[in-house]
């Protein structure tokens, strides 16, 4: 980690922040929540507290802006620079700016929180089925009022759960109209407008009047982006128009033609050549939470780290199950020390939601509910409970077709189905009550399905819920000078290789004895693997030799065909 020159830091621990404006890409409560969670990342490991202010000057002023946004460091359109923040201090120092030419999401595509409907403000579920058709975006199908909606479960036809998607026909944000919906047409400087416009603004944000005459009433708000809207370009917020003509060719889908950067774009009118109206097509977007957590690191005094996995590494990469890297923790604790005692109450997002008369906007007969107030969910991150945070497992082995990871009384399971989702942790004592907390190695006898667990110089055999042991490993014919068995690999025909130190023994499970000719040196039997592996296991036909965070993978022809990280390649962190 690095700190800024002079170790710039706040001289108080009760840090305040204020969200100056919002992005049209996400519902404001989702943005509030992303920022609150990003602060919590740092709060969890320091004595710092973060309090949200709704007016006045806060230590950390947070804003969205595009290109030239009022400081000497302009943003650069979509992609490239995502955000920046200043180290602690007065004025602009400590502030965080986010490029609103980016598509801000939770990192996995449109994050669409619904309003009204009957799903209590749940997120849209994409894809969803409606009348036999699958939808991957919000739709106005099935409605006569042109309001986009989505199902909040996979099957609307079955569950009938739905809500309305962001639309200027439902609400606005910011401005001075308390979130009222747009009124179309409206008059602005004597001209009539039928849709949101950027006219009259230099920041490219789309707005509308919330009465029929802006010139008279001066009431306005900003238009939320629909999930189908283009990003950036010169038509932000407009939908793609398919087909469209570009350089005389007709296109029915987004294209990267005409661009050197390979980004997908579309025209928002039927003819780009005539109208020159365009924007980038929606993609997965950038996780506002992850980028904010990084920027708040700067705002608290951390400079860029050169450790790729650290939050303070300068490049963006999406991680689903985020946990703060050791390097980030050491950095922030160098500045502020570590936290003690229970955490304070997390900051709450703004909970006011404008009331809309259901009769006025909704023509469906579905039950109507107003959106409930939202509370920020800030589950504490317990680093010991996250398998991705375990530097070195006690043991890894296949049991009943699932890869099991053991560490200090807990275990996680990686299913061979469900795209290899890792579940857990589960207490070892609940499933195998006779076992100690530390398991050095384990294996499942493929013939009898008995489970063998080793810890130190003892072993246990589980058959279902019944257990034999502990017994001394000497009973298996192993020498009495062995401290522990570090790995086990099934070889078929009731044979299992047991690894300890530089040696390997072959156990005849049926006879409960070591075969003649053993021990042998591991590096003689398996050339090219570390001599001091702390764990050896069989997984999908390969033998994995683990040392530190890494593994060496050997195929059936005894070739090392891969060396990688347990965390990324095996656990899919």
């Amino acid at each position: 980690y690095q700190t800024f020159e002079g170790d710039l830091k706040w001289d108080h621990n009760d840090i305040t922040y204020r969200i100056i404006n919002y992005s049209p890409d996400m519902e404001s409560s989702l943005i509030d929540d992303a920022f609150a969670r990003a602060f919590k990342v740092w709060r969890d490991v320091t004595p710092l507290t973060f309090t949200r202010l709704f007016e006045g000057t806060a230590d950390i002023m947070i804003s969205f802006g595009k290109a030239d946004h009022g400081d000497p460091y302009p943003f650069d359109g979509k992609d490239g620079l995502l955000a920046h923040a200043y180290p602690p201090g007065e004025g602009v120092q400590g502030d965080a700016h986010f490029d609103d030419d980016e598509y801000w999401t939770l990192g996995k595509g449109p994050a669409v929180k619904t309003r009204y409907g009957n799903a209590d403000g749940a997120m849209c579920h994409f894809p969803f089925n409606f009348e036999g058709k699958s939808y991957t975006t919000c739709t106005t199908d099935g409605r006569s009022d042109n309001l986009p909606w989505c199902a909040t479960t996979a099957d609307f036809d079955k569950d009938k759960k739905y809500g309305f998607c962001p639309s200027e026909l439902l609400y606005t944000f910011g401005g001075n109209a308390d979130g009222a919906k747009c009124v179309f047409p409206f008059i602005f400087l004597g001209k009539e407008y039928d849709s949101c416009t950027t006219d009259g603004r230099s920041d490219e944000y789309r707005w509308c009047a919330t009465t029929d005459n802006f010139d008279k009433d001066i009431k306005y708000g900003f238009c939320p982006s629909r999930d189908t809207a283009v990003i950036g370009g010169n038509s932000e917020g407009e939908p793609c128009h398919f087909p469209f003509v570009f350089l005389g060719e007709t296109y029915d889908a987004c294209t990267s033609e005409g661009r050197g950067d390979g980004k997908l774009w579309c025209s928002t009118t039927d003819n780009y050549d005539d109208d020159k109206k365009w924007g980038f097509c929606p993609d997965k977007g950038y996780s506002l939470f992850l980028v904010a957590a990084h920027e708040f690191g700067h705002a608290l005094g951390l400079d860029h780290s050169n450790i790729r996995d650290a939050l303070m590494y300068p490049m963006y990469s999406y991680v689903e199950k985020f946990s703060l890297h050791k390097d980030d923790i050491e950095g922030i604790q160098f500045l502020y020390g570590s936290g003690t005692g229970p955490g304070p109450t997390p900051p709450q997002p703004e909970t006011t939601t404008p009331y809309i008369d259901p009769e006025e906007t909704v023509t469906t007969k579905e039950p109507q509910t107003t959106v409930p107030t939202t509370t920020t969910t800030t589950r504490p991150v317990d680093p010991t409970k996250d398998a991705c945070n375990v530097a070195e497992f006690d043991a890894i082995t296949m049991i009943e077709g699932e890869l099991h990871f053991f560490k200090a009384g807990l275990y996680w399971k990686k299913s061979s189905r469900n795209a290899g989702v890792v579940s857990g942790p589960f207490p070892i004592s609940e499933r195998w009550p006779a076992l100690p907390a530390v398991i050095d190695t384990a294996f499942e006898d493929l013939l009898t399905k008995k489970l063998y667990f080793f810890s130190g110089t003892r072993f246990w055999v589980y058959t279902g819920k019944s257990v034999l042991g502990p017994r001394s490993i000497e009973k298996l014919g192993l020498p009495n000078n062995i401290q522990k068995i570090e790995g086990a690999v099934q070889r078929g025909n009731g044979k299992v290789l047991l690894f300890s130190g530089e040696n390997v023994w072959r156990l005849n499970v049926k006879d409960q004895n070591i075969d003649q000719g053993y021990p042998r040196f591991t590096d003689v039997m398996f050339g090219g693997v570390p001599n001091d592996s702390h764990d050896v296991f069989l997984y999908k036909g390969h033998i994995y030799f683990c040392r530190d965070r890494f593994y060496w993978r050997m195929n059936s022809r005894k070739q090392i065909d891969r060396v990688g990280y347990v965390k990324y390649d095996v656990l899919n962190c």
């Binding site: 992609d79 400079d303 490049m315 963006y316």
Partner: protein
């Protein structure tokens, strides 16, 4: 088999990202993130050499330190990132 498409690059209105050469992109990147900064020593200004700046950038990003603008380095330069410079000014 169809003829390969002949791509024509277009300058899109209000697009902040222009079609620039790789070397231009690299120079902009190195300058923007502090690798190619001007050093002030007793009123004398000098630029760190591009080769040296590239090596510094490659080290920061965990790339092989070749000092040459290779594909891996260019790929990293095109990735989304934070706007705060890597080298303090």
């Amino acid at each position: 088999w169809s003829h390969p498409l002949k791509s024509t690059f277009v300058t899109f209105p209000s697009d902040l990202v222009r079609n620039i050469s790789d070397s231009q992109l690299a120079e902009n990147y190195l300058k923007k993130f502090g690798y190619l900064q001007t050093e002030h020593r007793s009123g004398f200004q000098s630029m760190v050499s591009t080769n040296k700046a590239l090596k510094r950038m490659q080290r920061q990003m965990g790339l092989e330190e070749t000092g040459v603008l290779d594909k891996a380095t260019l790929d990293v330069m095109k990735q989304p990132r934070c706007g705060v410079p890597d080298v303090a000014n």
